[in-house]
Symmetry: T
Subunit: 71 residues, 12 copies
């Protein structure tokens, strides 16, 4: 893989999930994988979330960058 010059592109996406931070990451990765080229890696930027009326975390929101190779 190393040795030939390559170019990658990074896109910033936000995934949400009621369950966990990992699940919010997977939500974003799955969606980006279908509309873009096949992804290589991701980098988490921010972790945020929404609090429901009952005072529990009702949603995790993860801002991440996903990268894929331009061919």
């Amino acid at each position: 893989m190393y040795g030939e010059d390559r170019v990658y592109k990074k896109i910033e996406v936000i995934g949400t999930s009621k369950k966990s931070i990992e699940d919010a990451i997977q939500t974003a990765v799955s969606r980006a994988n279908t509309s873009l080229e096949k992804l290589s890696w991701f980098e988490v930027g921010e972790v945020r979330g929404h609090v429901g009326d009952d005072g529990t975390v009702s949603e995790y929101q993860v801002v991440l960058k996903v990268a894929f190779q331009l061919k």
Copy 2:
């Protein structure tokens, strides 16, 4: 919700949990929700933790900001 001028306040809190990062967030959100106004959202700042004598993570410590509307 958008359209009338509103004011929110953000408070910085730290929640701990033996179980997971999500659980430490929920610990802080639950406690802040009772003493402050009803929370709207949260933003994770730092994730830290303590290591026990047996070399395992004994506690997650999550620094987060919680926001609520001033009415």
Copy 3:
């Protein structure tokens, strides 16, 4: 003013306005001024906003810190 030891407190608030960034700052400053002590200064952190269905900025959201002297 300089010369005697003083203590200030900073609070993080968010003001919104349909009109301008300056108006959103004033919204937050006015509200904080009534519930807290008299404010001395403010520092803008983030400027964000909402986009309406017609593609125009429908609301400015300014995150700022306001400071007041603890007496």
Copy 4:
């Protein structure tokens, strides 16, 4: 709106205006709204500008991120 998993995409754009910072934001938001999906929100990154020969600000340049939902 909260409750179902969603994915958003953020794009970095720069708008310019001779008039004001708010107008430069609107310039960028309007243009992004036509070529991309309908925008949800924006976040200001940098505010810069050009100085004309007469020593007055001849142009505001606002770097911002705009976000829209991937459906």
Copy 5:
């Protein structure tokens, strides 16, 4: 101390002193300790100061966060 879930709150304060940075920290800590709960720790953010007419530092201003446990 580690083992039970706890919640801490962080408050941003500014202390001033004619003498030293350490004294400005102590000024802020003493004042916060009386009006808030008993403090656990502090974190220095910024160190600034004022210069008097004779060109000497007439005051140190230390911005710090102080933390205390919510019980």
Copy 6:
């Protein structure tokens, strides 16, 4: 303009205005333009301000860098 090697210098200034952020930028740009070389561009760093006794913003303070070519 591009093609020959040039050198620019950046200076940090603060402008104030009772009216608006844009006016505070113009105040600083006008003053720097007379004492320094003709300015090329500016970059906003911080936006701060003072709150008057009546709880309204009495002054905007904008920290910016201004750049000019060394000839």
Copy 7:
């Protein structure tokens, strides 16, 4: 513990896990605990990961600092 002067050292490590962010932290903490002195705490820096051919997160990579007392 507080009262006598102590010195701590911080080391930067990266742990990986197919399962979760918490598991990647534990992987790094366990490995560092055996080769270094007994660890006291950790601080998470970056969370990244790899995406497999099927578009799912195949690995979490957590960059963290671990601290231990120099005796």
Copy 8:
């Protein structure tokens, strides 16, 4: 060029090269120039690289943002 309102878009790309940092930048710029609109400028974010089995730098990886005008 200054005077009419314009909108630019910034894209984040990564270029690699066995030879030099400048060459890795050119690799990314060339590739982005063909698939996107004609580029105006670039801004380097991170410089990283891979180390080969013989302990020499086998590849430079430069993360950069490239900007082009939306027309």
Copy 9:
């Protein structure tokens, strides 16, 4: 002081001292006060230092910005 538009300039200087951080600040403030206009305030950026052959701190180096009003 507030009310009329003013312009300040900030200059970055480094002061050194064998004695303390405060003394290094004073060294820089004194020197800048003579060559520039009368200073108004300072902001500490970095604190560094040199270690002598005997393993003690032989010099503190404080990077600070000093500000003065342009009249």
Copy 10:
């Protein structure tokens, strides 16, 4: 000293002291000097501390990087 290629290593340590920030730096520098190679310089990262039961600063904790030449 300048002219021949050299390599330095930086290590992150934390020193504590009941007395002052400078003393906490010296505590860390002394300890690092004995276990590592002879140190060349240090850079202060964070300044934190502990608050005792009587509301006074009971300990300064300074996070710093120390550098020494690899020979």
Copy 11:
């Protein structure tokens, strides 16, 4: 050199070059060295550049700080 109190000043400049990042640094250093005091060191801030009509990097622009001793 260490031992007597000294004061340094840092100035921010931008150098450009068609050839390389190192050459853009040298352009700025040479120009600053003639108009200012003799320089001691430099610190690179940003690396940017311009892309020509043929899609190649037509100019490197390096933002750097240069430091010199105030005597």
Copy 12:
């Protein structure tokens, strides 16, 4: 390579060179490769340098992190 849990360690080093930034990176990488485990990758932090009496760059100093797998 992906799939089994691994642990990496990152070390901060500084390499110098009279010739170029790339050469300073190689200087540090070569030295770290002999005293540590075989390196996997590097990340550039800061680029600095020294200016000689003749006003030319006499040395590049590159601060970088190098990473290697703990086995």
